[in-house]
């Protein structure tokens, strides 16, 4: 199974990277109201089905992949 984890800075946490990206886009003439920078983690996991894969990846997020104080995460599982 392929799983993709999206890790985002939580709302309200100052994201200077996002601000720098938003400002650079502004200089290029794009109108951007807000930009936030997170990260993507692609995983290959062995699991019986999508639900089992998601449950495993959720444990990975809780233990290591995201820091719950400052980050939120979203998991997408594809076969």
């Amino acid at each position: 199974m392929r799983a993709t984890v999206l890790v985002r800075p939580k709302p309200g946490i100052l994201d200077p990277q996002g601000e720098a990206v938003g400002s650079a886009l502004g200089h290029l003439g794009f109108e951007v109201r807000d930009a936030r920078v997170g990260k993507v983690i692609d995983l290959e996991v062995d699991a019986a089905d999508a639900a089992a894969a998601k449950a495993t990846v959720e444990q990975m997020c809780e233990k290591l992949l995201a820091n719950p104080l400052i980050e939120s995460y979203e998991i997408e599982v594809t076969a």
Binding site: I13, L14, P16, Q17, A20, L64, L65, N67, L69, I70
Partner: protein
């Protein structure tokens, strides 16, 4: 009777950089400085532990996020739970936060720039094993060198846990917090580097006040055990 020499361990992780300076500074302040490899399942007989600065595991994922799972970190957790004194400096502070031994998180500097300079900080707790040689309000000049030093406290942080505050905030830390302790006061983390400031030739010897406080407290533990 000669006063006993306390044994203070310094944990070396893959990517630690300031372990040797910490060992050197502690020895100069009359402790027996004991190198500890991160793969050790148990700590040797120690009276205090220092987690040094550097870039453990290349700062991959988040600073300190992987060192948190080193065997020695589990041993340090048990040591702290028994009341042992633990000091985390810079990356050591990040590891203690990731491990949940200290509250909060350290994230990218607000400026997105690596800061490397001497900064003044103010002592707000002079009653800890790390600060007894200081008095509240005392200003210390200590070097900082980090890209991820912006401290974000949890919403429920007790203000009494703030030990050091920047005079001029170099990284955007909330309320200028430079160093904190746990609720019981036996674990402390700070971003500035006291081990790089133990001799006037290095620009400042204010760091010796913090490290010598730890040596004093560790020695008192030895005496209490005799």
């Amino acid at each position: 009777m000669a006063s006993p020499q306390p044994r203070i361990g310094v944990v070396t992780y893959p990517g630690s950089q300031d372990d040797r300076d910490a060992l050197w500074a502690l020895a100069a302040l009359d402790a027996e400085a004991v190198p500890v490899w991160h793969g050790e399942l148990e700590l040797p007989d120690l009276d205090a532990v220092v987690l040094p600065g550097g870039f453990s595991y290349g700062d991959h994922l988040r600073c300190g996020a992987i060192a948190r799972f080193s065997p020695a970190t589990a041993a340090v957790r048990a040591f702290a739970a028994g009341g042992g004194f633990v000091l985390g400096i810079c990356n050591g502070f990040q590891i203690l936060c990731e491990a949940g031994l200290l509250p909060g998180a350290l994230v990218r500097n607000e400026s997105l720039r690596f800061v490397c300079r001497d900064v003044p900080v103010t002592v707000e707790r002079d009653d800890l094993p790390f600060t007894t040689r200081c008095t509240n309000g005392r200003r210390l000049v200590l070097p900082v060198k980090h890209g991820d030093g912006r401290y974000l406290p949890p919403p429920d942080l007790d203000p009494a846990q703030v030990v050091l505050r920047y005079v001029d905030n170099p990284n955007g830390s909330v309320d200028g917090i430079a160093g904190i302790c746990n609720e019981t006061g036996n674990v402390m983390g700070l971003m500035p580097h006291p081990e790089h400031a133990v001799d006037p030739l290095l620009g400042s010897d204010d760091g010796a006040l913090l490290l010598a406080s730890l040596v004093d407290a560790a020695r008192d533990r030895v005496l209490a055990a005799i």
